[in-house]
């Protein structure tokens, strides 16, 4: 029982980081109906940008973090302007394909600049390790959970309580309609990519903090795929629930199935779960039921 609770708790904390990754996919999907396959590379680039500010330039954390996120957002905006915007109004599929190619391109850039070795990555955050009897939750995952959740909340606030959020939601529904009512859909798309990129960077920094940062960290970004597919591609709640489900599933598989000799099952488990969910609910758990009117 202790094992189970421990795995559940640890899974939830990691799951919150995955939820943030899922959210960054969802907001782009809703705005431009494209799936951002370059998420892994965004994650690595975001982390490296923060690395430069914090570890290389030795700027204090509270300044370096916003700076890093801002830079990550800028990269997202640049990518949107050069790779995505020219395709506006075309099929979303071509945008998705572009993000695939973009992923390879960005990976190449990262390896060219930073090489493929690991960089040690350790944020000296205050120790908030929690112990309840036999349960032990380490400080880093707790920080990761807290920061991811608050970023998630911040994005929700932005989307549902501000005029820019309203414009983003309107544009996400239909770009032509938004433009007709004076919302600059192209600029909104730019903002969405920037926000998404900054979110991915937060998740990337948290994940790098668990271990080290290298150009191979991009694999973690792919965890967003089961997250959004389980939760529903266009659902923000789905991203949160999907993220936690994937985190818990992973950690349960790690605690119970891997010791039986199936090493690496942890990586596969979310996809198995994904298959089951998709068989039962093809749009994901919270995929929006489209309002159809003729």
């Amino acid at each position: 029982m202790v094992d189970f609770t421990q795995a559940l708790g640890a899974g939830t904390l990691v799951g919150l980081v995955y939820a943030l990754l899922g959210l960054s996919i969802v907001i782009i999907y809703r705005a431009s109906e494209a799936f951002n396959f370059a998420i892994g590379e965004f994650l690595v680039i975001g982390s490296f940008l923060f690395y430069i500010f914090f570890f290389d330039l030795r700027i204090p954390l509270l300044v370096a973090l916003p700076l890093g996120l801002l830079a990550a957002g800028l990269v997202g905006a640049l990518v949107e302007r050069f790779a995505i915007k020219p395709l506006l109004g075309r099929s979303p599929l071509s945008m998705t394909i572009i993000t695939l190619g973009l992923g390879f391109f960005l990976r190449g850039c990262v390896q060219l600049i930073f090489g493929s070795h690991s960089y040690s990555f350790f944020l000296e955050l205050p120790d908030i390790t929690q112990e309840f009897g036999d349960l032990l939750f380490l400080s880093d995952p707790i920080w990761a959970g807290i920061l991811s959740l608050s970023t998630f909340g911040l994005i929700l606030f932005l989307l549902f309580r501000t005029r820019w959020g309203l414009a983003i939601r309107a544009t996400s529904e239909n770009q032509a309609k938004a433009m007709a009512f004076g919302i600059d859909a192209r600029f909104i798309l730019l903002i969405v990519w920037a926000i998404s990129s900054a979110c991915i960077a937060v998740a990337g920094i948290m994940i790098s903090n668990f271990g080290a940062l290298s150009s191979m960290s991009s694999i973690v970004g792919l965890r967003a795929i089961p997250v959004v597919l389980i939760g529903g591609m266009d659902s923000i709640v789905g991203a949160l629930v999907g993220g936690i489900i994937v985190g818990v599933c992973e950690s349960l598989a790690g605690a119970y199935i891997e010791p039986m000799g199936l090493v690496g099952f942890k990586e596969v488990a979310p996809y198995l779960l994904l298959l089951i969910v998709l068989l039962i609910r093809p749009y994901g758990l919270f995929g929006q039921i489209r309002i159809e009117r003729v």
Binding site: L88, G89, R90, R163, L166, A167, R169, A170, E173, N174, Q175, A176, K177, A178, M179, A180, F181, G182, I183, D184, Q288, I291, R293
Partner: protein
């Protein structure tokens, strides 16, 4: 105030939709554009509103002038901000997943003044039915309510010129009548209106002047009265002309003789 000179528009670089359209819009009038499906009415409105490139079309010839200055190639948001021109796209251009109140808010995105709240209340007093539904998603509203909302949203942008693309599409005749009297009211409050309609009779009734479009050209123009009395308009758009040509084939031959097609 608005004049279009010999406008030619193609989609995807090959499909020619407007083949030399010239028209003028005078201040404070209701200009009616009627024409069959595929005549290029919507394309014309898109070009004027600066949204043609979004639909992968381009203006290859001619010019669109506002008070003498060319607005060709300007962004949709630019045109809206500078000239107060709002284009209500066809088929209920409301955001289905936003509530009615959010819809009105989204439409006022381009404004930063403090009047927005008061204006929303103004829309509610113009269309009381919307106030009752203010927290409901627009996708669940009826067609008539959605169209009222669309006009309300257009008003939130404080338009001087309103381009309406088939607002009566799919509405019951009674609701259409109500809608058209609302449009007339807007016009009386000083908004210039361009109304594209299939429902030619109702539209010409409230209109000042009208153009008839066919396959990317303007084939007829005149005051609403003249158009209502024109034999060909009566036959092809009002369905109340002489009954000599009974079959479709005859009608087609007649049209060809008139060199409309």
């Amino acid at each position: 105030m608005l004049s279009i000179e010999n406008l030619r528009v193609v989609y995807h670089d090959v499909i020619s939709v407007l083949n030399g359209i010239s028209l003028t819009l005078n201040e404070k009038e209701i200009l009616i554009i009627i024409g069959a499906n595929g005549a290029g009415k919507t394309t014309l409105l898109r070009s004027v509103a600066g949204m043609i490139d979004f639909y992968d079309g381009s203006i290859i010839d001619g010019d669109i002038k506002m008070n003498g200055a060319s607005i060709k190639g300007l962004d949709a948001t630019d045109i809206m901000k500078r000239f107060g021109l709002t284009y209500v796209i066809e088929d209920r251009p409301v955001f289905w997943y936003l509530t009615i109140e959010e819809n009105l808010g989204a439409a006022s995105f381009s404004r930063w003044d403090k009047q927005v709240k008061a204006d929303i209340e103004g829309i509610y007093s113009l269309f009381p039915v919307l106030e009752k539904l203010r927290h409901r998603k627009a996708g669940y509203a009826s067609g008539g309510e959605q169209q009222m909302l669309a006009i309300g949203m257009a008003l939130m942008t404080r338009p001087k010129i309103l381009l309406l693309d088939e607002p009566s599409l799919g509405l019951a005749p009674l609701i259409t009548e109500e809608l058209f009297s609302t449009i007339e009211g807007l016009n009386q409050s000083g908004i210039t209106i361009v109304l594209v309609e299939q429902n030619a009779h109702a539209a010409l009734d409230i209109g000042t002047r009208g153009y008839v479009m066919e396959t990317g050209r303007i084939v007829l123009d005149g005051s609403s009265r003249e158009l209502l009395e024109n034999e060909d308009v009566r036959e092809f758009y009002l369905g109340s002309g002489k009954r000599e040509r009974k079959s479709y084939k005859d009608a087609k031959r007649y049209k060809r003789r008139k060199r409309w097609l």
